[in-house]
């Protein structure tokens, strides 16, 4: 069976510090991978998605970046965090080739607080 795991679950960081959130998927190959951010009780904002190793599509201008160094690994990074980067970050995967109807499977989420 497939599993998705992201870490850390909770992070408190000062403004201007770097960030690295990691997400890994097991039990599948060549998944589509996604990073979303969610404000409290609100919808999900798509930040990045990837359809293959080294292929990253960015959805919004920001001080965040994403990388996919391996097939099932997706990393969200920042060199200098802003207060506005606080939120609940969710990694998700979907089977490739299931465009338009495939289910998104989400990780447990990472709650980031920037002080």
């Amino acid at each position: 069976s497939q599993t998705i795991h992201q870490w850390p679950a909770t992070l408190v960081q000062p403004v201007g510090s770097p960030l690295s959130l990691e997400c890994t998927v097991e039990g599948t190959s060549n998944p589509n991978l996604y990073w979303y951010r969610q404000a409290a009780g609100r919808g999900l904002q798509l930040l990045f998605y990837s359809v293959g190793i080294g292929q990253i599509s960015s959805e919004v201008p920001q001080n965040l970046s994403a990388s996919r160094p391996q097939d099932r690994q997706f990393i969200l990074s920042s060199k200098k965090l802003l207060l506005s980067d606080s939120g609940f970050y969710l990694c998700a995967w979907r089977k490739s080739g299931q465009a338009l109807t495939g289910e998104l499977f989400f990780g447990e989420g990472s709650r980031l607080t920037v002080l």
């Binding site: 589509n32 996604y34 979303y36 009780g41 609100r42 919808g43 999900l44 904002q45 798509l46 998605y49 359809v51 599509s57 959805e59 969710l90 998700a92 979907r94 465009a99 338009l100 109807t101 289910e103 998104l104 499977f105 989400f106 990780g107 447990e108 989420g109 709650r111």
Partner: protein, 111 residues
């Protein structure tokens, strides 16, 4: 970028009542999904609709896709406290890689 508008934003009802939440766009959807999310967790898929006019039922939940594939609704019959959560609709762009979410409806069912 297609914009998904969900209404109402918040809904608080008593156990046993019925409710409907809506998801609308000016764009035509290739497909639409409904997810439910509990606090501190990731969303979980409830249903996917693809065909205009399609109706799907999941126990007390009824999902309808508009004939023109621009809107969808979720109807819950005899709501229970366990239905409490954030209900999100999500629509697919024609490219098939990018799933966009609405802002969600926060439902609270009081015992």
């Amino acid at each position: 970028t297609q914009l998904l508008e969900q209404s109402p934003q918040f809904l608080s009802i008593q156990e046993g009542e019925n409710l409907t939440v809506y998801c609308n766009s000016s764009s035509v959807f290739s497909s639409l999904q409904w997810y439910r999310q509990e606090p501190g967790e990731g969303p979980v898929l409830l249903v996917t609709v693809v065909t205009g006019g399609e109706v799907k039922k999941l126990k007390r939940l009824t999902f309808q896709f508009g004939d023109a594939r621009k809107d969808s609704s979720l109807h819950i019959t005899a709501a229970q406290p366990g239905d409490t959560g954030l209900y999100l609709c999500a629509a697919e762009e024609t490219s098939g890689s990018r799933l966009t979410f609405g802002e969600g409806t926060q439902l609270t069912v009081n015992p």
